[in-house]
């Protein structure tokens, strides 16, 4: 299955007790220029850390900022202040090319939406992160196929584009993309949301395996049983919501 040889040794939990992801004093606001330049503060004073092999669950009501926090770690939302250390890169201040390098080998993200070039076969969509890392095409495809099989995507669909797939199938393709490389840090946004029991179990097993190999994981799980089984700690993001004066 997944080989873990690509992980630099300092990521290994045996050698390092330090956190892979450390967030300090992070804040965020949106300025809506087209609505009278309204400034909406959405987060202030956020602090958290995730160690190798640990899974941290973000909780809080809808709109409390779970996805916002996750997007700031991924780097597609800009931080207003504070720092987001992932390994040795501060995502809050890093240049675009540093974030691109980080996403290539270190930080994985399973979002709720699949965004792909139309007409590209599912197999290639899943293999792409490996090809970008320079893994030979044959090996990348073999690893993609093994993962698609494990996630119960029927083989006759592998040569088709996932854009026409059902919601649950698209989600599993997204998960395959996020697990095809052993990223030392992983962001999971409701990875089990629209899955049946069998596939939910497959995904939970994959996440447990990622923890066991030392990945630091931050996840949003509305599925309470999944949360109880996977998460070592929970952080309620409501505490980071700015108090209305």
């Amino acid at each position: 299955m997944i080989r873990s040889t690509n992980i630099p040794s300092f990521w290994s939990p045996r050698f390092c007790r330090c956190d892979v992801i450390t967030i300090s004093n992070l804040s965020k606001s949106f300025t809506l220029h087209n609505q009278g330049a309204a400034v909406i503060p959405v987060m202030t004073g956020a602090n958290l850390g995730v160690a190798p092999g640990e899974c941290l669950g973000l909780v809080g009501a809808s709109g409390s900022g779970k996805s916002t926090l996750m997007r700031m770690i991924w780097g597609n939302y800009l931080a207003a202040s504070g720092s987001i250390m992932v390994g040795d890169v501060d995502v809050a201040k890093a240049a675009p090319r540093e974030i691109i390098t980080l996403r290539r080998g270190t930080l994985g993200y399973v979002s709720q939406f699949l965004r792909v070039v139309p007409r590209v076969p599912t197999m290639d969509v899943v293999a792409e992160p490996l090809l970008t890392l320079g893994v030979p095409a044959e090996e990348a495809r073999a690893r993609a196929m093994a993962l698609l099989a494990q996630l119960n995507i029927p083989e006759r669909l592998w040569s088709l584009s996932p854009t026409t797939f059902s919601g649950g199938e698209q989600q599993r393709v997204n998960i395959a993309r996020g697990f095809v490389h052993p990223y030392p840090a992983l962001l999971l946004d409701e990875p089990t949301a629209s899955l049946d029991l069998v596939n939910r179990e497959v995904v939970l097993t994959l996440i447990e395996a990622a923890k066991a190999r030392g990945a630091a994981i931050i996840g949003i799980f509305h599925d309470e049983q999944a949360r109880a089984r996977l998460c070592d700690r929970l952080v309620d993001v409501t505490q980071f919501t700015p108090k209305v004066a």
Binding site: E98, T101, V117
Partner: protein, 263 residues
Amino acid sequence: MSILAKMKMQPLLSVRDLAKFYGGRIGCADVGFDLYPGEVLGIVGESGSGKSTLLSCLAGHLAPDRGEVIFDTKEGLRDTVLMAEAARRRLARTDWAYVHQNPRDGLRMGVSAGGNVGERLMAVGARHYGQIRDAAVDWLGRVEIAADRVDDRPSAFSGGMQQRLQIARNLVTGPRLVFMDEPTGGLDVSVQARLLDLLRGLVREMGLSAIIVTHDLAVVRLLADRLMVMKGGYVVEQGLTDQVLDDPQHEYTQLLVSSVLQV
């Protein structure tokens, strides 16, 4: 490659304080950025925002009125603005490629498909007919044009095939920097998707750097690592592509992103 090694890497192209005026009117001004090997930079903006003027200045088709365009040539860093015309043309044949929006502007319509690809090779000194033809057939295959079309003229090709032929003609000499002006502009959406996939694969396999001018935000999201947003000749915002599109900071970018029709 480690992050530190990447950071020390030399930019392929460094642009400083670039400006071009049309009489009293601004074409583009105050433009500055670094492009690193393997990076794809998207430039978006509405018609008249200066994005095509900027691309022309970078590619040496227009002489800027001010500023530097430093390119990491095989002989070291050179300002292509101050370069002799002959040296700039040599760069355009070897290290650079330019993909026009309209394939007719980038192809020789009276010459066969194989000839179009082979001509670029001959311009850099290839003389062995068999090798040139083999390279041409190989490249036609890579852009998914069947080998039995090698002797047909581009005028017998569809728009999408012409665009793929133009890309083959441009990439056969192994350039390091590709300029693209609305490469998917005139194509229907199903052909666009194939071309996007092709371009992504080529960028990845050849380690190309590219600068892509387009007004299509969906195209840059899928192709570009970084994005520059232009308005009235100025760069109003730049950053990581998905950051600029998902969390736009400038008033104009917010308007641009919120104006896209959802399918």
